[in-house]
Subunit: 336 residues, 4 copies
């Protein structure tokens, strides 16, 4: 089963997980790209719409066979970190342009990667990947063979903090994340059991979350070398995340609101709201919705940003990246 | 760790599941019984309050050792069906009086049991068990060695239907059950994943649920030999269940409300409400809350009953049964 | 603000409620229709995307002014019953074709209407309205000036029951409805307070719901004159509904599954599933998803149907009807 | 209706709200105190168990009549701020010892109070009230006529921060609060509508929450004069709250865990957990559950504390205070 669009054909590898399945749906409905195949390591032979009726993609999950499946122009790889690197490398070798949803190509510094994730599967390619946050790296993404789709927390946190980082205004930052359960993936566990989550709010990885070095790498590149505090909390929400950023400024914040208006006036997928946002505002969209406040009592800048962790935090951002890589309008297949 | 109560000591076998753990807590706080030990097949060596902080029972889960653990007057067994029967039989042989939370001793007819559950582990004892619904079998429970605690759906359905069954007024009945996720147990699965349950309502076992023959056995004993339709639906609720019973009457319903008032005037744990009830009304209690309505348009009797599936539907009803077996006030340790 | 589509322009009157706002969004994005204006009785001057950021419709709510607003080819009216009839009548008089989301034109029999809803505001038009369930009345809808969009429960119940009704196979039916809270509308009340709903399941209108006569009217028209039992239950779900239909058959059910496959093979928005469905499967779509089972133990036919109460149960079905009224492909603006 | 306990009789004024109703229940079941009467400004004549079936308190709500109702030894007043002060003053004048759940007697500095709440109704009594956090002010509470029960956020935040404040170790602190919807009270509003809350997480009062000056007052008194940042977020939870405290230390933190163990070794209602806690761990209890972590990457101390906002955050803490005021064991009626 493939969609009828006439443009580049796209493989989605690892399509049985939440983000891969959504990527398959978005490609399947895309006016330009066509869905070439969906593969899975765990559910070979299963129809995608049996796993996820609401995506309405009738394709059957296949075992990945590079000889066959690499006959495409592009791929979205939704493997766990570690497992992704070799697949991405093999696809690239065959001339396939890849958006990788894993962490494998996000961190430029191999030592940092290995401190948080363990050994890297294709370290020679670490320098190759563009960091796939279009709002920061539009040009690099357009020309890249490998685009490392950001983590969902960094996506929201960096959109929240970039205007301050660029101005060198971040002396210290606390990022308190509230994340929906789909962020933990499809695997059933005590953590994702309804009875554990319902009526509850639980901090986790308080000793340091893997998304922190990703945030720090990008903030430093923008001009704000800090060690951020990133603490996620699991909330009883299926989809969506909110980051609350508490910034101790390194200088005069000026007109905070104007700074954000300037920064994002032309961004198609960033909204500056008049009131604090929440995940419902952006559910099932590629939108990041922001609110900023300069707290005169404490001098801090408070910035809140919400995204749908499965969309802008993963699958739809991957399609936004593909649009850029193939010189399409960035909004194609994603708007409204 | 044991509570300080001076009365009979109670073993809870299978205390790492939801219902066993709650039974342990209720015994631990009981003014008369003492908690002798808690055992588990899966979590030996773990402290119960590490698994369930909110129960605040510090006992360590042990492997069941009959020589040691059967030195008690009573036991609550919270094993899966099939696995329960041999343990119950062994405890009984050693003179321990048992409340069994499994299905193993609920059905009197071995053929019926085996049609729904497979081979029985101690068929010679099938006739021994009292059906542990105090509102129907108070005397039999008081004298029994083995009390088969009812399923959570039959608990609510039978309290809802008994007044009509006794009067021979049930020609046909549909029992539409809405049940919280804890009813599916502690095991993590696709079914109990927060993302599957949230925002959803899913019928299951529509081809026939094991609780149906249990309902039918007891309705027949009361004077209403019917084949009931029992269809459970999983709702995004952690704890609690509601049964909606649609009765086609076999005769004149008379004053329906008065019939229910008469039936339950003296029952300490049955409430007849003035409006349709819901699980919030009975959360963390041993109460069954009822509402009945005679629909003049269709002639049907509609009866709604809600219980907490972990409490009146399981663990607290087990304690109510123990109270009866040891000639205590039925409400002890359970009220308010 | 108006969309750029070149076809008929559509007024949405009563766009500050859940269903009206969604209708405005669907028209705003429709490839053929254009959104002419949005009106409200309660929020004049407010931007729709301030009330509902996730709909991303920037139009400002206006007070209804027929002289100005009736300069359109079509209107969707989302007023409460009683208040809708005069507005619908006035629009029709000015040559506007109307889809009415209220109950005012659903019931053909004035006496039945007035028994359930009180006095009718335009009884002379009662015979005019087509009952807007495309799966039953496609032709009548195409030619009608006034289309009475069905209630959300009847939408699901009738799709579930029509194949049996047409064959005269319904002797009796119980429709147990589980409905999300958006069905109660945007008004804040004790009933819709999060704390009342969370962890709860509550039957309501057990003495008879207004959607019952609507179901009965249509079943009778199909060949099954019954008095159905329709009991809704509020569940902790924001959007979506499931109806569980328990049918006592009036004859031989035959091959139930084949009957449903035949009935719906060509329906673009009806899905026959292989397992019981739930609201998550159809969220934010115009799809009705069905499952049927012939219970050999009881002889009953069990049919489950889920729709999104705001979409197929209201706003997207209104657009489906508009598509038919203006001879467009029924799926336009609604698929996928 | 009154309970049978022989000790001091307690009036609950304002018992139709969430916290007042729970206070009534706790007094009703208390082994020492007796419930004298329940009053309400909005629901006179209503039975409390019609409003709150799960509390099972059959008392009828009366209009407050000081001549009659002040014939008691003690009162719990659950009025909104502003409205509470005159009632508290009047009761005190008649010799009634009062626990006040409002903010009216929490802030010692009238100017601070009036900056956040408006004019004070009994400013001459501001110096009288003891701040009712037993873990900080046990002795003052025991001897006070008026005990100002803390806000729910300060309760958790101060228990989290007191050990660091006493050691002068807080240079700066961010308190990110996640709170359940019952914290917003019983009044129905757009904010508390299920559809607004479900699937959402929303920051509010980001420009400054009234609980911040309360936290600052107490931290200063302990030795840490800071201006804290307190930002609440509404989460889809009915009951419970979690505070995440990010402390920039003013000196060497030393052994953080040992510091907390020392601080709370003898506190009956403070638990130091081995993993981050969540509201489920303390639901329906008077327990505050803590976790602390010294983040070596950033130098910060992270402290998480969860309480049930209706219990330890309000009604059960009021009873804990009453126990102290009447020289009872602090745990009476509250444990387990």
């Amino acid at each position: 089963m493939a969609s009828s669009a006439a443009g580049p054909r796209v493989l989605v590898a690892g399509a049985s997980g939440y983000t891969g399945a959504l990527a398959a749906r978005l490609i399947d409905r895309h006016p330009h790209f066509g869905l070439a195949a969906v593969t899975s390591r765990s559910d070979v032979g299963v129809r995608l719409d049996d796993l996820y009726p609401h995506h309405r993609v009738a394709s059957v999950l296949e075992e990945l066979d590079l000889d066959r499946h690499a006959q495409v122009e592009a791929a979205i790889v939704a493997y766990p970190h570690g497992a992704a690197a070799p697949v991405v490398a093999a696809l690239r070798e065959r001339g396939v342009r890849v958006v990788d949803l894993s962490a494998d190509f996000r961190l430029r510094d191999r030592a940092v990667y290995e401190a948080w994730y363990g050994q890297h599967g294709a370290p020679e390619l670490l320098a190759t990947g563009a960091y796939g946050l279009p709002e920061l790296h539009r040009e690099a993404i357009a020309g890249a063979d490998i685009v490392a789709n950001p983590g969902c927390f960094p996506t929201a946190a960096l959109i929240a903090l970039a205007p301050l980082a660029r101005a060198g205004l971040i002396a210290d930052v606390v990022v308190d994340v509230k994340t929906g359960v789909s962020g933990a993936g499809r695997a059933a566990s005590a953590t994702t059991h309804f009875v554990s989550v319902d009526g509850n709010v639980t901090p986790y990885k308080v000793e340091g979350h893997r998304h922190a070095p990703e945030v720090d790498q990008e903030l430093a590149a923008l001009g704000a070398p800090v060690t951020s505090t990133v603490v996620p909390h699991l909330v009883p929400v299926d989809q969506g995340e909110l980051v609350s950023c508490y910034v101790t400024p390194a200088g005069d914040l000026g007109d905070l609101r104007a700074r954000y208006e300037d920064a994002y006036a032309d961004e198609p997928f960033v909204e500056l709201a008049d009131a604090p946002p929440g995940p419902r505002d952006v559910r099932d969209t590629n939108v990041a919705r922001l609110f900023c406040h300069h707290d005169r009592r404490t001098g801090k800048a408070l910035v809140f940003c919400t995204v749908d962790n499965l969309w802008k935090g993963a699958a739809s951002q991957a399609v936004q990246n593909l649009n850029l890589m193939f010189a399409r309008d960035e909004r194609e297949g994603l708007w409204p």
